[in-house]
């Protein structure tokens, strides 16, 4: 199971992006309300997708309450991945299922590396 990080490396309200061998795009991990959410770093605005941060790990909007694509300003719900504003209205991010083990390690659910 691919290990992305430890919960201690991910402050509440924070986001980070991780390269995963075999995946074409990074995996964004957002910690919010005591839960972690995994999304592909893949804005659905354009076919083929585009990565969304304006600098390393800068995935959230100013208020920290949405994932934002910093190419054209789309905002996505952190919990559902649905676009709520901007070019991709009606589309959503692709979820990457995560597992947090007893030791606090954040891992991809088995099988996700091959998708």
């Amino acid at each position: 199971m691919t290990r992305l990080c430890h919960l201690d490396d991910l402050p509440e309200g924070g986001a980070r992006g991780f390269e995963v061998p075999g995946l074409a795009c990074k995996v964004i991990v957002v910690r919010r309300g005591g839960r972690v959410h995994g999304w592909r770093d893949f804005c659905p605005h354009y076919r083929g997708g585009t990565p969304m941060a304006w600098k390393r790990d800068a995935y959230l909007n100013g208020a920290g309450d949405h994932i934002a694509c910093h190419a054209h300003g789309a905002w996505f719900d952190i919990e559902t991945g649905a676009c709520v504003q901007g070019p991709c209205l009606g589309k959503r991010l692709i979820r990457v299922p995560l597992i947090v083990d007893e030791a606090g390690a954040v891992r991809l659910r088995p099988g996700e590396e091959r998708r």
């Binding site: 990565p51 941060a53 304006w54 600098k55 190419a71 054209h72």
Partner: protein
């Protein structure tokens, strides 16, 4: 209409310090800046961006789409040109004359516009020079590149807008403000040049649904392709993320490198754009990857071939 082009673009953003970090790394100089109120970010000739908080009461109303562009400030050559704009637009809309002498109105799509006698300074700086057999641009002993050479954006070049109704938008800028169409991407939109500016475009419109209306990207001119490459390389090294480029567009011939930004739109370096006059015959072609660029590269870390294969390989 003796319009030169954008003197300033005004944004209402949700993270002012992030914009400061990005725009100063990009090479603009902050003026009258505080993290609470924002400030101005200027290029070498004084054109640039004004960054304020989204809820700053001094800003014109926000677009309904959430896009952070709040106003374009278009520079004109002199007072007579400003009067001509006021007379023309006053025919069918309210045009306010503010205490600072500027005009304030809206275009037909609801984009806020300001017009003023330009405050840009005339630049006296050499362009990048190229040596080639038959034509040596640089004097003997004048070197073409060094790692620390200045890479400051020289002037605000153009703004690209997501526009729901292209035809009325084109009619407003062409027929009311006298912009020339230089080229058109069929199905996407026109490139526009104001009469007092020879640049291939200061504006380009992209046809979109209404929920996308706003700024797609903005760009500043660099001194040449080498400056553009060095500036973009510095951005990558500092952790900023490329969107598209480096490469060279076909329409306009300008080199490009786009970066994602906390302004909610891309911010481009451009260099070596074509200039035109009224003898130019506009071209048209369908938009697509072939039409959009002559070539496209992607950054990679520095590397050098050296020595032979390691023993055993």
């Amino acid at each position: 209409m003796q319009i030169i082009g954008p003197d300033s673009l005004v944004f209402g953003v949700d993270d002012v310090p992030a914009c400061h970090e990005f725009l100063t790394a990009y090479g603009l100089d902050a003026h009258d800046y505080t993290p609470e109120k924002g400030g101005h970010f200027l290029s070498l000739d004084g054109t640039g961006l004004e960054i304020r908080r989204r809820d700053d009461p001094s800003l014109p109303p926000a677009l309904k789409t959430g896009n952070m562009l709040r106003m374009q400030v278009l520079g004109v050559v002199d007072e007579a040109a400003l009067e001509a704009v006021a007379a023309e637009l006053g025919k069918d809309r309210q045009v306010l004359r503010l205490a600072d002498g500027s005009l304030r109105t809206q275009d037909d799509q609801g984009f806020e516009l300001s017009f003023r006698v330009t405050t840009r300074r005339q630049l006296d700086l050499p362009a990048e020079k190229v040596n080639a057999p038959g034509d040596f641009g640089r004097k003997p002993n004048q070197i073409g590149v060094w790692q620390e050479m200045p890479t400051k954006p020289r002037t605000l070049s153009h703004v690209v807008l997501f526009v729901p109704d292209i035809e009325p938008a084109l009619a407003f800028y062409r027929d009311r403000l006298g912009f020339r169409v230089t080229d058109t991407f069929i199905g996407t939109g026109p490139f526009l040049r104001p009469q007092a500016n020879p640049d291939h475009h200061t504006h380009f419109f992209i046809r979109t649904p209404p929920y996308m209306q706003g700024c797609e990207h903005l760009a500043f001119h660099m001194g040449g392709p080498t400056e553009l490459m060095l500036a973009g390389g510095k951005m990558i090294k500092a952790g900023f993320e490329s969107f598209w480029g480096p490469g060279r567009h076909k329409f306009g011939s300008n080199w490009f490198w786009y970066f994602k930004s906390p302004l909610g739109c891309n911010v481009e370096f451009d260099a070596d754009m074509d200039t035109h006059d009224d003898d130019w015959v506009p071209r048209e072609t369908p938009m697509g990857a072939e039409a959009a660029q002559a070539f496209l590269f992607q950054h990679r870390d520095k590397w050098a071939p050296s020595g032979g294969p390691k023993p055993g390989h």
